[in-house]
Every structure is written in structure tokens, then in C-alpha cells.
Symmetry: C2
Amino acid sequence: MSDGEAQPALGRRRERQRGHRSSGPSDAPLPRLVNRWAPLEILDAEQVERIVDAAYRVLEEGGLEIRSARAREVYARYGGMVDEATQIVRLGRDVVEAHLAHAPERFVLRARDPARDLHVGGNVVNFGPVAGAPHITDLEKGRRYGDIAAFRDIIKVVHRLGIVHWQGGVVVEPVDLPVPTRHLDMYLAHIECSDVVWAARGVGAPQASDAIAMSAIEHGMSVEELAERPTLLTVTNVNSPRRVDEEILDGIMIMAAHGQCVVITPFTLMGAMAPVTLAGSLVQQTAEALAIIALCQMVRRGAPCVMGGFTSNVDMRTGSPAFGTPEFVHATLATAQIGRRLRLPVRASAVNASPTVDAQATYETAFSLHACIMSHSHLINHAAGWLEGGLSASMEKIIVDAEMLRGWAEILKPVSFNDDDLGVEAIKAVAAGGHFFGSPHTLARYETAFYRPLLSDWSSFENWRDAGGRSATERALALWKKARDEWTPPPLDPAIREALHAYVARRAAEITGA
Amino acid sequence: MSDGEAQPALGRRRERQRGHRSSGPSDAPLPRLVNRWAPLEILDAEQVERIVDAAYRVLEEGGLEIRSARAREVYARYGGMVDEATQIVRLGRDVVEAHLAHAPERFVLRARDPARDLHVGGNVVNFGPVAGAPHITDLEKGRRYGDIAAFRDIIKVVHRLGIVHWQGGVVVEPVDLPVPTRHLDMYLAHIECSDVVWAARGVGAPQASDAIAMSAIEHGMSVEELAERPTLLTVTNVNSPRRVDEEILDGIMIMAAHGQCVVITPFTLMGAMAPVTLAGSLVQQTAEALAIIALCQMVRRGAPCVMGGFTSNVDMRTGSPAFGTPEFVHATLATAQIGRRLRLPVRASAVNASPTVDAQATYETAFSLHACIMSHSHLINHAAGWLEGGLSASMEKIIVDAEMLRGWAEILKPVSFNDDDLGVEAIKAVAAGGHFFGSPHTLARYETAFYRPLLSDWSSFENWRDAGGRSATERALALWKKARDEWTPPPLDPAIREALHAYVARRAAEITGA
């Protein structure tokens, strides 16, 4: 074939496509993503230092209310100034810095599939799905309280799309299950529906212990072996401002004692649970996180920890949180800078506060995601399916997010080209005013030349209208159902599966007293 | 007032709001935006050099088809190798580089309001509105061919929202006006509805001459004075690959001769009008742009020029352009790098290829916009209202885009804080588990603390549903109508207005032979 033939290139192209690979989007799992760009920063070194100094002042002069006697005992043993009457624990800078020195700057959490190990730290970019929502919503069944079926659906869809590097903990709250044993079914779902690192619920001693036990079974190891080869994370909040509830501390201490990763995330909404200024919120967020990271190191030197942030502004008329705003972007960038200063890995969030899966949900998420990635945050939470400021997990939003995450993965790929790609001869070979559709240079490359979208529709308006005129959100319905229906369980040793079910049955009986 | 008072802070807040500034979004025009971050780059210096070398090879060995005898004559006079039979002009590297040396790396185009002068170059970020669409679409009237009423509406809305740094040329094609005189009414609309720099239509000698004449009247100067103090730009395409039509060349040469700014934008869709590889498209785009910039310098040494790019991939199944894709992002970043290497200002585009104003239109635009800004492109075209790959201008999309542009403007603002913003005493003053709503630190700041959105709705799902459950796009309808209806004409000397109308009447008569 040569350029300039009369035969339409389009026909020839269709012929070549028969018998070639599907023209659908890639569903290979995202590879380990690396961001080679310098981090985007908004503070200078002096500003970072002032924030850190101020955070230490808050810990030394104000302290945190630690509502667990066991935790207070640990603090006291390692040099904390504990007031049993108020439950306030104050920490000197020297004490905190001494313990912080043991927190690893980077570490690996092991997945059942070693290719899916979670690398935390450096310039690796990790996405995790929505977590913590009480509702599930989709265009078919509408908005309703979460249940275990929806929980499993989310994990399946996200696994099938291959868009996350770890599975969240409570991707949606399965309220159809009794509270005391709910976590057991959640963990079973994580292990059966996916094979990446998963997260334990961030509240409660049994929730932590059972996660560790089940992960040990999943990996065919003892709990002691697991401590040397961590597999789990948990995302825990602080009850900002400056309070940590007993159940949260119980969970944290068990995870740390067993060498598992704690992601400490203060919940510092500006003007509500933290000062209304960005600097003030960062000071408080840093203080709160450092106090807990220090505790983790006191419990077990070298326990892997991640410093989380969830600083954003609120709607000052109503107090509702706002996400994906300029303030949120700045807080995300600054938090990662503070993390680099303190040599701690950082967790951020790709979130929005829209009530529905529309343009607002999308631009807020896009702003958040851009900030998360460009800041060099190491764990980017809620990156698939988050809606309504966290009150709903949305199936359609998973698809919209998937397109954005895959787009970013492509953008982060290094660009390289050879002389042939420069195409000087190909350019000269096409006449002025001609076209490249039939050019050998094009035909040799076009099938793999471009990123193939999952969701985007590039039809003309007329074709789109005649095909039903559906918005991206409407098209997403069929796509998530397809992903769910095409999901196949990842490999799991039948003996391990049996052992897990036996464990769950035994524990459920113990917990319910049956 | 002190912390911890029983009286709800919410009530006190409402009282303070009475008599204070409106809680609506700021409608002050965007200030001159500066991007203080380092540009985001994807090529190394050697790759940039190889692209530039290859572009010079294309110009020397392949050349461009220049379909204007006058232009060929200019090229010949200044060392171009002209083949009159094929109309192909080849240019030696030395010739191009010699002329490129005169193109300014930065310059200012004067607006009627000096505060709105357009600074091109360096780290200044400029947004322009949609241009070139044959259709107008909105939720009220639906999709139809453009008309002068819609043309004026777009300019008014964009002016009222204050979101652009220059007005586009043909924001939508007003097909209700006769073609030969259409440009006169368009220019009148620009001058009457706004006071920022505006763009002449990029095709045709009369279109260029009339723009210059009318701008001279607008500024109360002679055409000669205007050449020393340029006020206009025009965005022109190349008929890629490697062809430039006579009417385009006519317009370019008149603009350049009169010292006005030409933005040369090859239209290099990968695999269609350019090689399917990114590197190849960039080679061709660079070659085409340089040939025209050289022409402009030959016509008038020092003529302000901008190197444009419109490289993106196509949907290989249909040939339709795709925008906001990873390829588009890479092309945008790389084009700006090439511009820095060649010491030329660069034009980029915040575009999408969605058929409707939905999540896809939004994430594609968000990806494009991020790339435009982070690349340090100097003119970011189509940043308000673009849809359908350029086939429609959308009124609702203007609002969605406005929110994103204002968001970026906030993000680009430098962050600074003082000791009081660090809030250590404020943090200590709020009890553990308390809240900051009523804190004096908060009350003193909250009214101006946060960016106030134009479009975003942070209501709870229930409140949003009960208020009508409208998507962002649906809410945008009322917002653009409000902006249009609240628009007031910027100041314009009545004598100048009269002179402009007289000019238009005279020229219309000349053109139509009436």
C-alpha cells in the first residue's frame, strides 16, 4: 500500500482490524505508577518550619485528649506528660522527634499477588477506592443504605477495572449486617473479590485483631510472621480537634503492635474542627498526626505509619464540608510538603462535595486528583466512587473516576521516541493538503498509538443524539454492570478459603455469644 | 464574645452577615494571573533539539505550499526557495533562524481599559473564550446555528463573569449575517460588549484591515500609531499538512504589516493531518508555525507572533478529533517546551470532545486546562464555552468553565501567613472535642476566608433533591442568563461609538456595493 491511493483508508483500516485485538479499552490493572516530576509546592522552607514548630508547640502546651487508659499509660512510659484527670497528654518536642525517627520513610505492604504489592513512599502514586460512605447509589436502584452486596460489587468493579493499588476498608457501610460481626464479612469480601492489599476498619480492637488474623490466614503465615512482613493498613481518624476516642486508640495500638500500617488522618475542616486559616489547620493536623505516629512507634519501634490529611474548607453558610476547592488543593500540596520535611509518607484524597455525578463532582474530583498526584502524596484515597462529601458511594462515579485515573496513568508514562517517530520522511511523503490516514507510517502504528477510553464518547452530536443522547453518567451504568458481571475471582487457595470461612464462623459465634 | 458560649455560633454569624458584603461569588474580573511554578515538561533537552532539528529539515527539504503569490514573493525576497509551479516554498534553517531572532519573546497588547492589557510571555497565564463554533447551544433554546444575538450574549456573559483576559474572534459564527460584512458586526460586538483585547477573524484581507481600522477608532489613534502600540490579535490556522490558503495569508500579512499579533496554529491531528506519533506531529506543527512566523518577520521585523498548537489524537474508528486526552496533555506540555527553546510565546487550548455538558466534557476540559496552565502556555484559548470538539459553543459550559478558571486563579494565588494565622493560641483555646465556629479567631476571618463558588452546590443530598435535584449543568442555565442580564456596557466614548458605527455603515455599503 502506498500513500495517495484512491481507495478509502477507512475501508482498509476496518479490514486490518478484523482478527486484531479488541478495540475496547485496556482492562489490565494499572501498573505501579511513578511521578517523575518535582513535587508541586506552595510553601517555602521557612513557612514549613514555622508550621512544624507551631505543631510542636501545640503538642507541648495543649496536647491531645487520649481517651484510653492503656494509651495514656504508653505515653507516660515514654516521656509524655499525662494528666489523668483531664486525660490530656502533652508531648515534648524531643520526645516526639525521638520516636518519629523510627517511623520508616518508605515501606512495602504485601499483597496476595506480589505484582500488586503496595509501595508506600518515594515517588510512587497509589490510588484507593471510596471508603466510609453510609449510602450506595446507582442509576438503577437509586440511593439507599449500603449493604454487603453493594460492598462486594464495589470491590469487584474496582478490581475488574484494575484502577486501584489497594482496596479500601469500608468501601460502603453494609448496614444489613449486624454491627458486631460486620467487619468479618467485609474482610472476607476483600480477600475473595480482590488480591491487592486491603484495609482493616479503623475503629475497634476486635476489628483490628480479626483483620490481622484473617490476613495471616490469607497469606499462609502466622501473626508473628505477618509483623515482619506487613500486609495491612488501616485508615483512622482523629476526633479533631485534639481528641482520640478509645475504640480508635484500641485499633491503632493493635495494628501498630503487630507491625501493620496505620494511616492517621485528622479531620480538620477549616473553621469547624480546626482554625479557619490554612496555616492553622495544617498546624493542628500535623500536631494530631504526630502524636499518634509517636504512639505507634512507642508501641512498636519501626511500625509503618502514614500521615494523613483531610483539611478542607466548609460552606460557611451551612457548615457542610467542601472538597476539590482551592483551599483543599492548597492543603493537599502543603500536607505533602510537611510530610517530606518530617520524612513521613503522606495520604491524601481525591474527593468532591457534589450531591450528584455531574460536572461539579467531576471538576472537584479533577482538582483534588491533580493536587494529590502533583503533590507526591503516596496514598490517594477515595479515588474511585466518592460522592456527596463521603455520604454516598456511587457506582457510576467509579466509572467516571476510572477514566480519570487511567488518563493520569497514561500521562505519567514517560515519553520516548526514535528517529522514525519524528517522521520527517513520512511528513515529506504526504503531499501538502493531503492526509496521513493511509500513510504507511500511520498504518504501522495506529492500532496501539492512542489511549483507548473507557467512558469518553467522541461521536458527533448527531450520532450521539441518534444513539440515545446519554450523558457520561448515564453511559456509566452499563459500564459498571459490565465490569461487575465480567469480574472473575482472583486465585485463592481453596484450603485458605476454607480456613477463612471457618475463622469467620468461629469468631461470629464468639462475638454473638452463640 | 468568647469561646464555649452556649449561644449557637450560627445565629451570631447570621447577624454579622446582615449589612456585610453579599455572600455571592466574586464577579471582579480575574487579575493578571502568574504561574510561579516551574513548567511541567515531558521531553528532555535532547528530545526538544531533535524535534526542532527535524522541523528545520521539513522546512528545508519539504517546505509548505503557499497559495498566495504575494506571500511567495516575500519569501523569495528574503531567501526562501520558491517553486512557482508547485507553489512550494522551502526555507533554509539559516533563513528561518535569522528572522525568528526578531520575533519578540514577550509583548503587550493594549486594551481599552489599561488594567486589562494582555501581557503575552513569561509566566503570565491568559484565558480566552470559545471561538470558531458554527452552532450555539443552551438548555433553553437547544442547539441551533449561531447568530449575532448569541455572539453578543457570549461576550456579555464572559465579560460579566470577568473570566477571560482577551475576547476571542468568532466566538460563535453568526450565520444570520451576510458573510461579506459579518466581521464588521462581530468587531462592533467585541468593542461594545467588552473592553479587553479582542481578536480579528483569522481569514481574509478585508477582515484584517477592518479590524485594524476599527481598533484604531476604538483607541482614538491612527493606524500607524496602532502599529507601534498593538491592540489586536488574530488566530489563524495552517491548512495542515503543509498548506496555507491565500485568504489566510492575506490576513496574516496585513496583520503583521500593521504590527498586530498573529497566533499561528497548525491543525495537526495525529494520524490525520499529521503523523500518528506525538514526535512527528510536533515536528510538523513546529515547521508549519515557524514558516509563518518567519513570514511575519519578513513583512515587518518585530511583529508580535505566538506559536500555536492544536495537536491531539483522533478516534481511530471514526477519525473524529479527541481532546483532553493523555496525548493532548503531552502535546500541550511539549509544545510549550519547544516554544521556550525557540523563545516564542505559545498558545494552547482548554478543549474537550464531548457531545454534551457532562462529566466527560468536564474531565476532558480539566485535563486540558491543567496541561495548559502547568505547561506555561501563554494564551489558553477556548477556555470558556467550548463543546463538541469545537462544533458548538455552549452557554452552560461557560459557567462550568468559569468555575474551573476561577478555581485555578485562586490556586495560583501565593499563600502567605503570619503568626496569628498559625493559630496556636486559637487551637489551645478550643477544648479537645470542641469546635471553632464560635472562636474569635474564626469569627474575625470567616467572611473572606474561603473562595466562594459560582456554580458548586454543597447541599446535602436531601436538601439538594428537595430543592429540585438539578445537576450543575441545569443550574448553569440560570447563572448564564443572570450574567447576561446583569451585564452593563463598559465605558465607550460616545464619539468613538458614533465613529465606529459610521465606519461599519460605510464599509458595509462598499462591500455590498450598495
